[in-house]
C-alpha cells in the first residue's frame, strides 16, 4: 500500500527528493494520476497555504513545498500530457505590468497556482496590455493575473484591465491584481478588476473563487 500520508507530509515539508519516489509508488500500485493529484497532492498544498496564512510557516517553506509539489508533478506529467498539476482548473495568464520589472511576487503566485491545479502561462515582466489580451485569447485563459509593485504601474493596471474588458474576451476572462503598490479600492473600484489578492495564497483562493471552484 503506497504511503499517501507520507506523500502529503513530504510535500508539506518540502522534501523534493522524496516526493517523486512516493508518487511513483502510488502509480505503480495502479492509482490514477488524477486521484494522486486531486485527492492527495493538492490537499497537501492546501494545508501549506493554510499554515502560511496562520503564520505557522514562512515564505521559504512555502517555496520549497511548491517545488516538492512540482517535482512530484514531473513524474505524473508524461502520463497526462499536460503542464502543471494537470492544469485541471484551467489556464491563467500571469504577468507583471508594463514599466515594472519585479518578478518575485508574481513568480511565487505562479508557483502556488501551478501547484494548486492551474495551468499558468507566464508572460514575464514589463508586459504591455495588448500582450495580456493576445495571450489570454491564444491560450483560452479563464483568468488573467496582473502584478504591480510600483505606483507608476497604476495607469498600466487600469489600461490592461480595460483592454481585457473591452476586447472580444469580455465576459469570458476574469482579471485579478496584486502587488505592493495596489490597494483593493484602486483595483476593484477604479480599475474595475474582478479581484484583488494581497499575497500568493490569497491569489490561489481568489482564482478558485473567480472561476467557481469552491
Amino acid at each position: 500500500m503506497a504511503d499517501l500520508i507520507a506523500l502529503q507530509e513530504a510535500i508539506i515539508k518540502g522534501k523534493r527528493n522524496d516526493v517523486p519516489g512516493l508518487v511513483q509508488a502510488a502509480l505503480d500500485e495502479g492509482m490514477s494520476p488524477q486521484t494522486i493529484i486531486n485527492e492527495h497532492m493538492i490537499l497537501a498544498m492546501k494545508e501549506v497555504g493554510q499554515r502560511f496564512e496562520q503564520k505557522k510557516i514562512f515564505v521559504p517553506e512555502m517555496m520549497i513545498a511548491a517545488r516538492a509539489m512540482q517535482a512530484g508533478l514531473e513524474v505524473i506529467k508524461p502520463l497526462i500530457g499536460q503542464g502543471g498539476a494537470g492544469g485541471g482548473l484551467g489556464t491563467v495568464v500571469m504577468g507583471t505590468v508594463f514599466g515594472d520589472l519585479h518578478d518575485i511576487g508574481k513568480n511565487l503566485v505562479i508557483l502556488m497556482l501551478e501547484s494548486s491545479g492551474f495551468k499558468v502561462v507566464n508572460l514575464g515582466e514589463n508586459v504591455p496590455a495588448a500582450k495580456f489580451v493576445e495571450a489570454a485569447r491564444e491560450h483560452q485563459a479563464k483568468l488573467v493575473g496582473l502584478s504591480s509593485l510600483l505606483t507608476t504601474g497604476d495607469p498600466y493596471v487600469k489600461a490592461t484591465v480595460a483592454a481585457l474588458k473591452e476586447s472580444d474576451l469580455s465576459g469570458k476572462v476574469k482579471v485579478m491584481c496584486g502587488g505592493a503598490a495596489l490597494t483593493p479600492r484602486f483595483v476593484l473600484e477604479e480599475c474595475q478588476a474582478d479581484g484583488y489578492a494581497p499575497d500568493a495564497v490569497a491569489a490561489v483562493r481568489l482564482a478558485k473563487d473567480l472561476l467557481g471552484f469552491a
Binding site: K55, F58, V59, P60, M63, L101, H102, D103, I104, L108, E125, N126, L150, T151, T152, D154, A180, A181, L182, T183, R185, F186, V187, E190
Partner: protein
C-alpha cells in the same frame, strides 16, 4: 567621497569616515493603511508625527514617499514635504517613481535634497537625471535596468558605473550619486543577502561612492524580521553602506548601526553609543 545634502537649516555629510547616516523610512504608505488613508485625505498630521518620531530616534535624513494608488502624487508630495519641513530640520530624501512628483517636490523644497531614485533604465535616466542636475540635488541610483534586477555582482557594478557616467554628462558629480545595490528578500533567494553585501563591497572598492540599502526588503517573508534586518544592517555598514534607509524608531535597528559604527572606529570614545543608550534608559 562625501555626499553633502542640506535643508534650509541643516547640513548632513554622508561618507565612509562618518558615522552611518540613517535615512528614516517611515513616511511611506506602502503596506501602511492608516498612513495611506491620511495621505488620500490630504491629512498631514501623521506625516508630521512620523517625521518627529524618526528624528528623535536618530534619523538624520527623512525619506518622503506618498505613493498611494490613484492619488495626486505631485500635489500630495509637496504637501508632505512642507509638513515635514515645518517640524524638523532634517534634509529630505524625495521618494517617488513619478518624475512629475519628483519635479514638483524639488520645486517646493528649500535646500539640496536627495532624489529617490534613478536606475539604469533608459526612460529613468532621461527623465530623472536632468531634474537632479537642474535642481542641483543628489540622487539615489538603483542598480537595475531595462533587463531587470540583476542577481549577480558584476552586472550591478556595471549598472552603477553606467549611471555615474550618464550623471557626469549632465554635470552631476559622483559624490552626488548614492548607489543602492538592491538587497532582495532572502526568503525568495537564500543567496540574495550575500549578493547584496558583495555588491556593496564591489561598488565601494570600484567606484568609491556612498551607498544606501533598503534594509527591510531582505527579511520579507521571514519570521523575526527585526533580527534579520539588524544583522544585515551592521554587515552592510561594514561592506560600504554609509546611509541605509531604515526605521530608527525600532531600537534594535538603530542599535545595530550604532554598534557597527563603534566597531568600525567611527564613534569616538563610544560617545554616540553610550549617549543613545543613556537616552533610552532615561526614557524607560
Amino acid at each position: 567621497m562625501q555626499t553633502v545634502i542640506w535643508s534650509e537649516k541643516k547640513r548632513v555629510v554622508i561618507g565612509p569616515d562618518q558615522p552611518v547616516v540613517i535615512i528614516g523610512e517611515r513616511i511611506n504608505p506602502t503596506g501602511r493603511r492608516r498612513l495611506a488613508a491620511a495621505l488620500e485625505a490630504g491629512d498631514m498630521a501623521l506625516v508630521r508625527d512620523e517625521a518627529l518620531r524618526q528624528v528623535r530616534a536618530g534619523a538624520q535624513v527623512l525619506d518622503v514617499n506618498v505613493g498611494v494608488s490613484g492619488i495626486d502624487e505631485p500635489a500630495t508630495l509637496i504637501l508632505a514635504v512642507k509638513a515635514v519641513s515645518q517640524v524638523t530640520e532634517a534634509p529630505l530624501c524625495l521618494d517617488s517613481a513619478s518624475p512629475k512628483a519628483l519635479e514638483a517636490a524639488l520645486g517646493a523644497y528649500t535646500g539640496k535634497a536627495l532624489v529617490n531614485s534613478v536606475n539604469g533604465e533608459e526612460a529613468k535616466l532621461k527623465e530623472v537625471l536632468p531634474l537632479v542636475a537642474r535642481y542641483k540635488a543628489a540622487v539615489v541610483a538603483l542598480t537595475m535596468d531595462d533587463q531587470g534586477i540583476p542577481r549577480d555582482v558584476p552586472t550591478r557594478l556595471a549598472i552603477a558605473e553606467r549611471i555615474l557616467n550618464e550623471a557626469a554628462k549632465l554635470g552631476i558629480p559622483a559624490e552626488d550619486v548614492v548607489v543602492d545595490p538592491l538587497a532582495m528578500s532572502v526568503a525568495a533567494d537564500d543567496q540574495a543577502g550575500l549578493a547584496a553585501l558583495q555588491a556593496l563591497r564591489a561598488i565601494r572598492d570600484g567606484l568609491g561612492v556612498n551607498q544606501t540599502v533598503g534594509a527591510s526588503n531582505v527579511s520579507f517573508g521571514l519570521p523575526d524580521r527585526t533580527a534579520v534586518n539588524a544583522v544585515f544592517l551592521s554587515m552592510a555598514a561594514l561592506c560600504g553602506c554609509t546611509c541605509p534607509i531604515t526605521d530608527p524608531t525600532v531600537w534594535e535597528l538603530r542599535r545595530a548601526l550604532l554598534v557597527a559604527d563603534l566597531m568600525l572606529g567611527r564613534d569616538e570614545f563610544a560617545m554616540q553609543f553610550i549617549g543613545a543608550f543613556r537616552e533610552r534608559s532615561e526614557q524607560a
